[in-house]
Assembly symmetry: C2
Homo-oligomer: 207 residues x 2
């Protein structure tokens, strides 16, 4: 049991070490770093963290983090509102946006169905996705969920909920990652990439 | 260049990634974690960090972090005020206190002499250590500084400043770490551990 020389330090170590991936030793190192910096560093950090949690809003349509009632992506008239990409979190939107390859809209589920973490369909924004699907503007739903059992369960659940709306359902391609050596690719991925092989011209954007 | 869906999120990522060892990806992960937690988690963290920096005091005698004008160690009448252990930071005090092997007082330098980091003797609490050495109560100064050139430079500088006060100077033992295999010990450490060999009875507390 470590004894801290002050309650303030102990308290800051306690709070920092609640964060995932930050243990008590790291938390102590961060505290001592902050003590050696100008006061503004700690003040800005503390205020940014509080404001993040208390003032962040979520897009009323897609549930992405947003500064406005409707997020910048949903509000962009150049985007194709007929295509909705279903993701788990804001982080996935950021990753997909970084590729510059998607011009549709998003829908943030807020996680995936995971009995292990106690998350059921009611904990996700599936009801709101159903409403969107019923508005007549959407023609394609793209699933971009984790390539594991929970992701697959979630997309299948949503597929069954929406299949009577007359939409097209797609899922992002699973296969050998660009740059990967075939001999080091796991056999499930390799197997699926052979089963789901695609026209050469499509794969290399030659059309 | 990542685009963030909100200024609040971008701002929090910026502030968190100023901390040593926390990159922008980790900062984003921490922010999304905080957004998923009850409001109190972010509020407590933010306030703890601000209070740490704005309210922390330092012991007027040894410069350790403290809740009081004089720290708990300096104020403890059971401690031997004739022995002062010179350390770089509060973290070293915590490490030494954890061993339960030292009953004297401390003196926190606030770093070590390091031209590389632009730290000179005037940036450390050496003047205040000289005052303490001159008060007639101290008989031994124990150097517990890093076992590298900067630590050695610092202890030598302090030694020359204090050598006329008629004190005993010691340094914590350098040698093969307890539990280490000899064949994996670096040769400088092994060489010094042979040169500075010690009576068997002393090393094993058999006296």
């Amino acid at each position: 049991m470590t004894t801290y020389p002050s309650k303030l330090l102990e308290n800051a170590v306690n709070e920092l070490s609640r964060l995932p991936g930050i243990g008590r030793k790291t938390a102590l190192r961060l505290c001592l770093y902050l003590l050696g910096q100008p006061e503004g560093v700690a003040r800005n950090l503390g205020e940014a963290v509080i404001r993040l949690r208390t003032e962040t809003r979520y897009c009323a349509r897609c549930h992405n983090i947003s500064d406005q009632a409707i997020c910048a992506i949903c509000a962009d008239p150049r985007r194709d509102e007929g295509v909705v990409c279903v993701v788990e979190s804001t982080r996935d939107i950021m990753a997909i946006e970084n590729t510059g390859q998607f011009r549709g809209l998003f829908h943030v589920l807020g996680g995936k169905i995971s009995p292990f973490e106690g998350k059921g369909p009611a904990d996700l924004t599936i009801g709101s996705l159903e409403e969107r699907a019923g508005n007549g503007k959407i023609r394609e739903v793209v699933f971009a969920l984790s390539a594991n059992m929970e992701g697959d369960t979630t997309s299948f659940y949503i597929y069954r909920k929406l299949k009577d709306f007359g939409l097209t359902f797609t899922t992002i391609a699973r296969g050998v990652a660009v740059g990967d050596e075939l001999e080091y690719t796991d056999e499930v991925t390799l197997g699926r990439s052979i089963l789901n092989r695609m026209p050469y011209e499509t794969a290399y954007n030659k059309t």
